[in-house]
Symmetry: C2
Subunit: 277 residues, 2 copies
């Protein structure tokens, strides 16, 4: 199934990273994308650095063994807590730096960041933004219920709007002018977020800026190019097979999906593939 | 630390099973309890049978290697999806049968069951209740947001009440007279559930009935009794160390807790203990 374009490996704890895949497909239509959702161990956002590091290593090994030309860690928690400890030889991107630089480009004076508990606790966005522009004010807020609300399918719901309102209240009172969506699930809440924030706040997500950074690496849509040209596409792997994943994946990618179930052991040594269709 | 009372191993995916531990301590004050929360891989309630079975096996192995006299699977999802496939020699209880028999004892005509997605999908409560009394009507509802709401600390919150109201609406319209709380987190929502249900619905949880079933096995509070008498107590293990777990554990048990971090490999072969204090 590999075309003449690059082979790009993307992983996230769940389905959220597919917002990055959708953006990558628009920019690199010749690329083939292997996507791994570590759904057997999600969420990462409430777990410790040690745990997230072990999971990230196993997921990256799984994708590297498939010979990817580039790796995208499309999980903010893993980008913030684990990516720099991995010592990767494959060209790779997290979603953190691209998100931070988009926020800096959009910002007036005060950037609000919403993310999972672990990402907020790591302070990674705050550091990344301050590194690019030390003059900016940065305020963060952990929003642990937003991922479960998206997974429940309540993205455009009045209860979700009230929960978002409660989470954002201190940021809006502090007069943020830019809101960075620091979790790949959050672009699915864009409608609700826009209503709660009003027109005075720019929303920035890392899906677009990450895909832009990756596309710069492959100016001609070119990868290893060894195999015969075939249709490019997305191949989806998940460590747990659930109907939720497929349902949300179809909504994000806008096309029917087939899901392969894989066992990604934490040691990264044993991997067994099982087709769940 | 083992006293002359029984040594009882209890596990849950997270902190919810401590509602069973609190009930056990009231009934078996001489018992020592080893509690394992598989917080690195929670929640179980959205995952597949195969995944839940692997996790359950590893957790049970961890507790059996410590020589427990009895095992309590205080996780409804694991009780429903994995317990009967395990072939255990240690006396053991899930929370499903005790919960079902309490519901049958309390019921008039129509029992509502609220639980996680996986527990509902398994149909296990429905079967268990019908086995005990085939005349009863049983209606189920999956409530995936309730565990995250408890974990967020919003147990007594007006937003939680609205979400509970939405989940329970079809059950209340169908005129249930009894509501079985089919997840060990839900007893923490008792206040909100009582307000939403009103006085016409009896709430039943499995923590009390499970502890009763275990206590019958140890009529004199007696276990292997080999060691010198020392103070009984609870020893808490978690596969991921987070401040959330300790905070909720203290609220449920009503005393300060110390948490030990363990690595329960899915193969059940390697276990490494790390003290996180």
């Amino acid at each position: 199934m590999f075309g003449s374009g690059p082979l790009i490996g993307v992983f996230d704890s769940g389905v959220g990273g597919l917002t990055v895949v959708a953006a990558l497909r628009r920019r690199l239509p010749a690329a083939t994308i292997l996507y791994l959702g570590d759904t057997a161990r999600l969420p990462y956002g409430t777990k410790s650095r040690r745990t997230v590091l072990g999971y990230t290593r196993a997921n990256v090994d799984f994708l590297e063994r498939r010979g990817v030309d580039a790796l995208v860690v499309a999980c903010n928690t893993a980008s913030a807590m684990a990516l720099e400890d991995l010592d990767l030889r494959t060209p790779h991107w997290g979603v953190l730096e691209p998100g931070a630089s988009s926020a800096v480009a959009a910002a007036g004076r005060h950037v609000g960041v919403i993310a999972t508990e672990s990402t907020v606790r790591s302070g990674a966005y705050e550091h990344a933004i301050r590194r690019l522009n030390p003059e900016l004010l940065v305020s963060q807020r952990a929003c642990p219920l937003l991922v479960p609300l998206v997974e429940e399918g309540w993205e455009d719901d009045e209860i979700t709007e009230r929960i978002v309102g409660r989470y954002l209240e201190p940021l809006l009172e502090a007069k943020i002018d830019t809101l960075l969506l620091g979790c790949t699930h959050y672009p699915l809440l864009r409608g609700v977020l826009e209503r709660v924030c009003g027109p005075g706040v720019s929303l920035v997500d890392s899906a677009e800026s990450t895909s832009q950074a990756v596309a710069r690496q492959f100016p001609k849509g070119d990868g290893h190019g060894g195999s015969a040209p075939k249709a490019p596409g997305v191949r989806l792997f998940a460590t747990d097979a659930g109907s939720r994943f497929a349902r949300l994946a179809e909504r994000i990618l806008g096309e029917p999906v087939a899901l392969e179930w894989v066992d990604v052991n934490e040691t990264g040594m044993q991997t067994q593939e099982v087709d769940v269709r």
